[in-house]
């Protein structure tokens, strides 16, 4: 062994550590169409647009009431438009979907502990459903009595 080998070896110029060429898959813009679970997630997210539409509709109603009977009549006529009716039916479907999915997700975001044990998810979600039913029955009673 010569003394020169005691010197630190010179790095050969252009040396690169071995690095295999990885295949990097690209995510398609239609990634959410391929699987029902992803599609359900996207529908849940889109449902917020329809929730917003119902909020706008309610604000328009309040504004019409504030302006007087003529404005209220105009509002009712607008609501009888077939396009608005179809939009409202679709919106109702999405708002119900929105409500159910979020009620079902709430227990995993807010686990409740009682006596050192985690309360089952369905018991955490139950008060939301009960409150929903009570309010819905109350509103139905106000409108239909």
């Amino acid at each position: 062994m010569s003394t020169s080998t005691l010197q630190p070896p010179k790095k050969p110029s252009g040396y690169k550590p071995f690095h295999p060429r990885w295949y990097r898959p690209r995510v398609s813009v239609y990634w959410w169409l391929g699987e029902w679970h992803y599609l359900k997630f996207i529908l849940r997210e889109i449902s917020s647009v329809f929730v917003a539409w119902f909020v706008v509709e309610t604000l328009l109603l309040v504004n019409a009431l504030r302006q007087g009977p003529a404005a209220y009549e105009h509002y009712l006529k607008l609501m009888q438009n077939p396009l608005i009716l179809v939009l409202n039916v679709v919106s109702l479907f999405f708002v119900v979907f929105h409500t159910i999915t979020w009620f079902n997700l709430a227990p995993s975001a807010m686990p409740v502990r009682f006596g050192g044990k985690r309360v089952p998810d369905f018991l955490v979600a139950a008060p939301s459903y009960i409150a929903w039913i009570v309010v819905s029955v109350g509103v139905a009673w106000l409108l239909l009595r």
């Binding site: 295949y23 995510v27 959410w32 807010m110």
Partner: protein, 252 residues
């Protein structure tokens, strides 16, 4: 139940291929065989160049995760008979989604391991008590708070299930965030404040859109989605408390 089933396996050789292609192998369907057994059968008897990771074959090591018919699965816990009984003639086996592929079914994990390290998944003490004080004692209720999140085996199935991981490469991801929360919830840990900078960040929990797929595919029932949402809530509460209390409180 069919006697044989075809494995359609994604193959990628970095020396020869621009992108993966599929090769089919016919394997026997034994009642006790899992997909990993079928891969071992192919490697031992048909094509020794087939490359994949595995070790314990009992759902502990977390190395044999692959996409089986488009679903992230531990191949050691996925029975061929499950598919054969449904009348399937073919099972597609691919590397875990959203990860770079090194060869065939082997994914590159450096990015995941770096993210894991960033959340400081270990017990942090501000004031180290002397050894003479003895061990840290915990009540069963204290253990119960974090036990579920400590079951993670780092199999990365949750990363392959999470579209945010695929779309946003800087997102820390489900397993690492759940593990951070596991230490935040541990009564022996005092590192919650140190972890906040990374966790309460768009790359951390705020990157999560609550698709919930991580929880669905987790073979150890860790519920990373739940852990992330709970941290979001804790982070908001901590932020609100910081207005009321001069020094705020740790997000726990």
């Amino acid at each position: 139940m069919a006697e044989k089933i075809t494995l359609e396996i994604a193959r990628y050789s970095p020396e020869q291929d621009e992108q993966p292609h599929y090769e089919c192998f016919e394997v026997p369907v034994h009642k006790e065989w899992v997909v990993l057994d079928a891969l071992n059968h192919v490697k031992d008897n048909v094509d020794g160049t087939l490359t994949y990771r595995w070790s314990c074959r009992m759902g502990i090591c977390g190395s044999c995760g692959m996409m089986v018919n488009g679903e992230p699965k531990l191949t050691c816990a996925t029975f061929l008979s499950h598919y054969a009984n449904q009348g399937a003639r073919k099972i597609r086996v691919e590397p875990l989604r959203y990860f770079p592929v090194v060869r065939d079914l082997v994914t590159e994990l450096s990015d995941f391991l770096n993210k894991l390290k960033k959340v400081k998944p270990w017990l942090i003490h501000e004031d180290e008590p002397p050894l003479s004080q003895g061990e840290f004692l915990q009540t069963p209720a204290q253990v119960d708070r974090y036990k579920q999140y400590s079951m993670c085996i780092n199999c990365t199935l949750c990363y392959a299930a999470c579209p945010v991981v695929g779309l946003d490469p800087v997102f820390v991801g489900p397993a690492a965030l759940a593990l951070a929360q596991r230490y935040n919830l541990d009564s022996r840990d005092q590192g919650a404040a140190e972890r906040t900078a990374l966790l309460a960040h768009p790359e951390g929990v705020w990157g999560c859109t609550f698709v919930g797929e991580c929880t669905r595919v987790c073979p150890k029932h860790v519920d990373p989605a739940g852990a992330i949402q709970q941290y979001k809530l804790a982070a908001v509460m901590s932020w609100l408390k910081s207005f009321v209390m001069p020094r705020g409180q740790d997000a726990r």
